[in-house]
Amino acid sequence: MWQFFHKLGSPKWFFGIANRLMPWLLWGGAVLLLAGLVWGLAFAPKDYLQGNSYRIIFIHVPSAFLAQSVYIMMAVAAVVTLVWRMKLADVFVKAAAPVGAVLTFLALFTGAVWGKPTWGTWWIWDARLTSMLILLFLYFGVIALGAAISDEKSSARAVAVLVLVGVVNIPIIKYSVEWWNTLHQPATFKLTEKPSMPIEMWLPLLLSVLGLYLIFGWFACLRMQTEILTRERRTRWVKELVQAEGN
């Protein structure tokens, strides 16, 4: 166990593992996401109230789900950075932050597109929407701070502190639909309760959420590999790797 933990600190070891992991993540994710989307967009039954416009849920919910999960993953990595000073944790934070920002934007955008036919407005200053907007700002802040500090070590730790401070927003997003009486509907997925939608709608949604998770894993690995190569460009193993690629 501890040996595994120590190995995780080695960028070279992670690079190899990521290489082996990435095809599985990519193909698994692509199959699940495609299955979920095709099933959801083309075959799932029409909603009796919203008609076909509800189908954007198959993009909206997975990206909103991921947007929050990515921040929580970043927070865990931030703790690891601060406590164990592990380089890879910071590589993950730097690699995941822009992806999280894009997912948050996607959730807000698809939400706006969905809001127009159902609520009659693109945007409303409701608690769930506002707190997601704050999440987007937090992602921007993390990216900006990381870019502003040139020293690698202090950049890692400063960003970790900021990520941890921003974590207060996550429970606010999660419970905003329960604490305030908002226009946004309550959570779609609950572990403890039976889903409120029929299984033919719920299952493709689950598939697309899982698929997007895997795709995110693949993309995070790819971005981490790039970041590792840039950071370790002066080491021997990277030089050898690049030479082997070149031949």
Binding site: T130, F137, G141, S154, R157, A158, V161, G166, V168
Partner: protein, 241 residues
């Protein structure tokens, strides 16, 4: 800058207690600030000017100002606290006092707390005292002004405490000012929402107890956690330079 205003440094075995050390840091910050009183005045002038932009820029109608007044005052107060944050650690960072503070035997987060409180007394408190005057200028009624001042009294310390984290994180960076705003504004939004929400509830004749309790909870949370984060950020920024 006179040397007696600095924190007197002693060897560790003669270290003074935690509370006297906090008091010394607090009083020193007040003293050095009052010797450069223009710096104290600037956030207040900014506050007044931003508030006066709204009647001129949007609408001088009494009905509009009555509705938007508390929000305008809150946003203006938030922005002037944001502008003043750069001073919180900057001078001490430039002349090396901050490094001495970090080396003190007393826990750093308590010294940071003392500095933050001094910052609030120098910027937040004057804003609260100035708010009734501006409240009258935007046609708020007496009850709304009283509630507004109360929310500012509870809210501005939270702004200073959260801001200390951002100020510490961006210490010594190029273009720290813009970056600081970028990092801190998202964290200010909840305080703003509940601050103005309280005044709106009071104007509707609803009970403000729940809102006040939430603002108080923000203050307690910020008081207990923000100094730790700011102290950690200070150590990072100092190790960077």
């Amino acid at each position: 800058m006179a040397s007696e205003a600095r924190v007197r440094l002693r060897p560790a075995h003669e270290a003074i207690g935690v509370l006297p050390a906090m008091k010394a840091v607090f009083l020193r910050d007040l003293k050095t600030a009052f010797r450069q009183h223009q710096d104290l005045l600037n956030p207040l002038l900014f506050f007044v000017m931003v508030v006066s932009l709204f009647p001129l820029g949007v609408s001088p109608e009494v009905s509009f100002l009555q509705q938007a007044g508390s929000g305008i005052l809150w946003v203006a107060a938030l922005l002037s606290v944001l502008l003043s944050l750069d001073h919180l650690f900057r001078h001490d960072f430039d002349d090396g006092t901050l490094e001495q503070l970090v080396l003190q035997p007393q826990p750093l987060f308590l010294l940071v707390l003392a500095k933050t409180l001094a910052h609030w007394v120098l910027t937040g408190l004057p804003l609260v005292l100035l708010a009734p005057l501006l409240g009258v200028m935007v046609h708020l009624d007496g009850n709304s002004i009283a509630v507004l001042c109360l929310t500012l009294l509870i809210g501005t310390p939270v702004l200073s405490l959260i801001g200390a984290i951002g100020a510490a994180l961006t210490l010594g960076l190029r273009s720290a000012g813009v970056l600081l705003s970028l990092l801190i504004i998202p964290l200010y939004i909840p305080v703003l929402i509940f601050g103005t929400g309280t005044v709106a509830a009071a104007a509707d004749g609803a009970s403000v107890g729940g809102y006040m309790a939430l603002l108080g909870a923000f203050l307690v949370l910020a008081l207990t956690l923000a100094p730790f984060a700011a102290a950690a950020a200070l150590r990072i920024s100092l190790s960077n330079s």
